[in-house]
């Protein structure tokens, strides 16, 4: 099994005068409920035109076994350089947040059902989106049609 490690650090020298912020957290990407690492990784870059929706990762019905037990992780980065460009990200039809040019995010995600799909949509311009998805037991569709 693969060992993949994610580390986040968050720093600020001027958020609180006299008390610099320095947070660090690290986790090994594991299969849900297990001590074995995730085995599969998909990465890509897409140019997302304004008003276009894009689904990241598989639907729950494309994941074998009990979907609730599939641990997954999602990385998204808006590589656009125009500061007025942004996309929204959400779970199914619920918009959770806005990812502006240069911003990134990293979350665990469990494919509880098809309505838990991660979706992004560009709202200004054509955004260049870098993404990576880590999981296990993702079954590639047998019928591309």
């Amino acid at each position: 099994m693969a060992t993949t490690t994610a580390t986040v650090s968050i720093t600020s020298s001027d958020l609180t005068p006299g008390s610099p912020l320095s947070v660090s957290a690290s986790t090994t990407l594991m299969q849900a409920g297990l001590t074995t690492g995730l085995t599969q990784m998909e990465t890509g870059v897409i140019d997302l035109a304004v008003s276009t929706e894009f689904r990241i990762g598989p639907l729950a019905t494309q994941v074998s076994g009990s979907a609730h037990d599939i641990g997954s992780y999602l990385y998204l980065c808006n590589k656009s350089t125009d500061g007025t460009y942004w996309i929204d990200w959400g779970i199914h039809e619920s918009v959770i947040g806005l990812l502006y040019a240069g911003d990134w995010m990293f979350i665990p995600w469990n494919a509880s059902d098809d309505d838990a799909a991660i979706e992004i949509q560009a709202n200004t311009g054509t955004n260049s989106i870098e993404w990576a998805f880590f999981n296990s037991n993702f079954v590639l569709p047998t019928d591309a049609g």
Partner: protein, 117 residues
């Protein structure tokens, strides 16, 4: 107005034949409220961590400090993800629905922070 610098690093020597060693950073401007790094013991009842009525567009950091118990992070009533033991998340939040946290069992500790853009 302050500057927040988040950095993510992803590494693996064996997830593919091509070693993964990747880092991305950002420079975020914090203009509004801040919830400094804090900890709370969850229960199996919903806890409103961040109310949409109190915050606008923000950046959120969450980490499950427990070594065995998972927790659900809910966005209103229709969307959620599961934060397993030891896992963290960093994401932008629109502030359009409450963020709630609930333990799968027991009283695991959640570490959290918020910075309003």
């Amino acid at each position: 107005m302050a500057t927040l610098t988040p950095t993510l690093t992803l590494t693996s020597t064996d997830v593919t034949s091509d070693e993964l060693n990747f880092s991305v950073t950002d420079s975020l401007t914090v203009t509004g409220d801040t919830v400094s790094l804090s900890r709370v013991a969850l229960s199996t009842s919903d806890l409103t961590l961040f109310a949409s009525s109190s915050y606008s567009r923000s950046y959120v950091y969450l980490k499950n400090l427990d070594n065995s118990i998972a927790m659900d992070i809910d966005f209103g009533t229709t969307a959620s993800f599961n934060l397993a033991a030891g896992e963290f998340a960093f994401f932008p939040w629109h502030g359009s629905q409450n963020i709630l946290a609930v333990a799968d069992s027991g009283t695991p500790l959640l570490e959290y922070a918020l910075w309003e853009a």
